[in-house]
């Protein structure tokens, strides 16, 4: 039986167990004088019966699926003749693909008769594994299901047991997110270490020239490549800065308008509309920046006599990115401004302050830490943004502070370095991981600072 049909069967078994467990609890309740004398509600007995019937089988099934192919391959490989065992890693990989092709009938004559035997052995083992898996899973489900059934009696603390089970389930879910993050960090970290073996760390973070081309043969001139990340980070910061310059004032002012001035009717219409901005795919922003904003800006600046405006400019990318992150700033600022107690506003109005005086002198200072937190979150979003800059900012790694020139960003370089078929052993591709690591570090720092600031804000009214 395939794993997916086994899974469906397990779910069915669990559902049936729930039903019968529930029924049984009602039956055993008769002996003690009715459902009200049971420790828990019948529902909990049913749930516990389902847990007993479903979970052990599920655990075994998932472990089996996880390790099945590795174990089988190991067994087959151990029976290879010595000539095949001695091969290098990449050659062994070729062997395995040949074995698989033999099995699926793509090729019929093997380069080595040993491979034919291996293919047959593999098929036999997989068949046996499938049968074993089915028997084990269903057998275990039946066994533990019976145990669960036996356990049902009036004194069983089914509610507490199910609460404990549920707690573990929730804990595992949160662990998955943590483990994924840790996994990503480590994979990036290890590849970065490989990169820094080829390119010195300080050349990378302080170098001012970025040109990651490495020629295939060493005798071509200019083949060495340069991995100075400074132009990329300057470009990133320049675009993020322009974006924040747009998003922070507009976002804050729209938040102030919505909270302090707008009637509830206006607010109910404008707020969702503003949040639509956050729902536009970044690709769409990207071609808006590249096809609409950038030429307009070029025309405008040439019209007022500024020459040398690039058709891909940091300004265009920054402006559009700024529009994109307006909702981040405004909805976070909206939350913290609304959280300022009305009693403070009343106190200020009661002294004869106008609305704008109240906002400037009472509401804003009280909400400031939260607003700063929101701005920092928006900043880390701007730094990590890729699609808009890929389309609108260009690829030229210029070290410049002039927003009218083309610049490139860390994310753009990572994207271009890894697009297409690449071998992951040259400094060129590995540099993407080093860039990713630094970018991750930067946004992580920003988030840590932002969360710390937001936390301090929370304590203020408690």
């Amino acid at each position: 039986m395939t794993s997916s049909s086994l899974l469906l069967l397990l779910i069915l078994i669990a559902a049936i167990s729930y039903f019968f467990g529930r029924k049984r609890s009602e039956v055993v309740a008769q002996s003690v004088g009715g459902v009200r004398y049971l420790h828990s509600l019948p529902n909990y007995y049913g749930l516990m019966a389902a847990v007993w019937a479903g979970i052990p089988g599920f655990v075994v099934l998932s472990l089996w699926v996880m390790f099945e192919s590795t174990v089988i391959q190991g067994i087959v490989a151990s029976s290879f003749p010595d000539s095949l065992k001695a091969l290098s890693e990449s050659q062994t990989n070729l062997l395995w693909s040949e074995i698989n092709n033999l099995r699926s009938g793509v090729i019929t004559n093997a380069s080595d008769p040993a491979l034919l035997t291996a293919a047959e052995q593999l098929t036999a083992l997989e068949d046996r594994s499938s049968i074993l898996k089915t028997i084990l899973t269903l057998g275990l489900a039946g066994l533990t299901g019976a145990i669960g059934w036996k356990l049902i009696r009036p004194a069983q603390k089914a509610r507490n047991q199910f609460e404990a089970f549920f707690r573990i389930l929730l804990m595992l879910s949160s662990l998955i997110a943590i483990f994924t993050t840790v996994g990503i960090v480590f994979s990036v970290l290890f590849e970065s270490v490989r990169f820094f073996r080829e390119v010195p760390f300080f050349d990378f973070i302080f170098g001012t020239k970025w040109s990651p081309q490495i020629a295939v043969t060493a005798d071509v001139p200019g083949s060495s490549g340069a991995f100075g990340a400074v132009p990329l980070f300057v470009g990133t910061l320049l675009i993020a800065f322009i974006a924040l310059l747009i998003a922070v004032p507009i976002g804050l002012m729209s938040a102030v308008y919505l909270v302090e001035y707008a009637s509830s009717k206006v607010r109910n219409v404008v707020k969702p509309l503003l949040e639509v901005l956050a729902g536009i795919p970044t690709v769409v922003y990207g071609f808006f920046a590249a096809l609409t904003m950038a030429p307009q800006l070029k025309n405008f600046f040439e019209g007022i006599g500024v020459n040398g405006v690039s058709s891909e400019s940091a300004l265009a990318a920054g402006l559009v990115m700024g529009i994109m992150i307006i909702p981040f700033v405004s909805s976070l600022a909206d939350d913290v401004i609304s959280a300022v107690p009305n009693s403070l506003r009343d106190g200020s109005y009661g002294l004869g302050a106008t609305r704008s005086e109240t906002i400037k002198q009472v509401v804003f200072p009280a909400a400031l830490p939260g607003i700063v937190g929101g701005i920092l979150l928006a900043a880390s979003r701007a730094i990590g943004e890729t699609m808009i800059v890929v389309m609108a900012a260009g690829l030229a790694a210029n070290l410049t502070a002039n927003p009218l020139e083309a610049v490139t960003t860390v994310t753009v370089q990572i994207a271009t370095l890894l697009v297409g078929d690449q071998e992951f052993d040259s400094a060129k591709t590995l540099s993407a991981f080093a860039l990713g690591l630094m970018l991750f570090f930067t946004t992580l720092m920003l988030n840590v600072v932002a969360l710390a600031v937001v936390k301090r804000f929370r304590e203020q009214y408690d």
Binding site: S343, D346, L351, G352, T354
Partner: protein
């Protein structure tokens, strides 16, 4: 409103024609209201209230929850303006000026009619800045030395100066509840109002802090007109000269405080004071 509730309300007011006692005054009037109605949307909260508040008088407003006494208080410095659905008709006169007149500047009005709220609400600023806030926004002072003096005077009048004089630059939120409320009174005094409105100023305070605020009210009445809403009848009896009893949006009875508490004329007033409801 259900028919039943409406019927019972009409039963309560059967035979009610006008306020018992004498709501108006012949001389020394600071504020007077004539035929004031307040509506929240379709719901009427205040029904035709006529009431005068005299100079240097402490007027207490009492009544069961939801009787409109806080709403009425907040119409006196137009704090209800911030509520969109609130509509006010009738005349409210402060020293001869109708405060709902088109030409009345609400900023000016609130400088003349200050307000102290139920819960102490110091701004999250320093103690000094809390008191200096009003004088600054109204441009009452030009030099720092003057401001220092205004702040000190206000804090002294609110009898909190001795407790805070050494820590004027510290956040006001660090003060105790009673100190915060006296600071809020100092903040109100700092703009030299003519009338101070107090909306249950002691309801969030312990008995000792309450006693200090009550003493303070007595001292302040030498210079200011005070209108105070309170749930505590003992407090009304202790601090006020006249008492007004509100019931379901109507001003039922007004009179000298000692008379209201010893010999109320209206049945509803008597029932409330003797604790039969409320």
């Amino acid at each position: 409103m259900t028919t039943l509730a409406k019927d019972s309300m009409e039963a309560v007011f059967e035979g009610w024609t006008s306020t018992v006692g004498k709501p108006t005054m012949d001389s020394d009037v600071r504020m007077s209201t004539r035929n004031v109605d307040v509506h929240y949307g379709d719901k009427q909260a205040i029904y035709g209230v006529d009431l005068d508040i005299g100079k240097n008088e402490v007027l207490a407003m009492i009544g069961p929850s939801g009787c409109g006494k806080s709403t009425f208080l907040r119409t006196l410095n137009r704090m209800n303006d911030t509520i969109d659905i609130c509509r006010i008709t009738g005349d409210i006169i402060l020293d001869g000026d109708n405060i709902y007149d088109k030409h009345m500047d609400v900023v000016n009005l609130r400088a003349r009619v200050g307000m102290v709220f139920q819960k102490p609400n110091p701004f999250p600023k320093s103690i000094y800045d809390n008191v200096a806030y009003g004088p600054k926004i109204h441009g009452l002072v030009t030099r720092r030395a003057e401001l220092d003096e205004v702040v000190e005077t206000a804090l002294r009048k609110a009898s909190i100066w001795d407790e805070v004089k050494d820590r004027l630059d510290q956040p006001a939120t660090g003060l105790s509840g009673g100190q915060q409320q006296r600071l809020c009174i100092a903040r109100t005094i700092a703009v030299s109002p003519e009338v101070i409105l107090m909306d249950e100023p002691c309801s969030a305070l312990d008995p000792i802090a309450t006693a200090r605020i009550e003493e303070l009210i007595a001292e302040l009445s030498e210079n200011y007109t005070i209108a105070i809403v309170t749930h505590s009848m003992q407090q009304a009896a202790r601090v006020s000269h006249r008492t007004a009893y509100f019931h379901l949006g109507r001003l039922i009875e007004v009179g000298k405080t000692d008379k209201i508490f010893t010999a109320p004329e209206h049945k509803l007033t008597e029932d409330y004071i003797t604790g039969r409801f409320g």
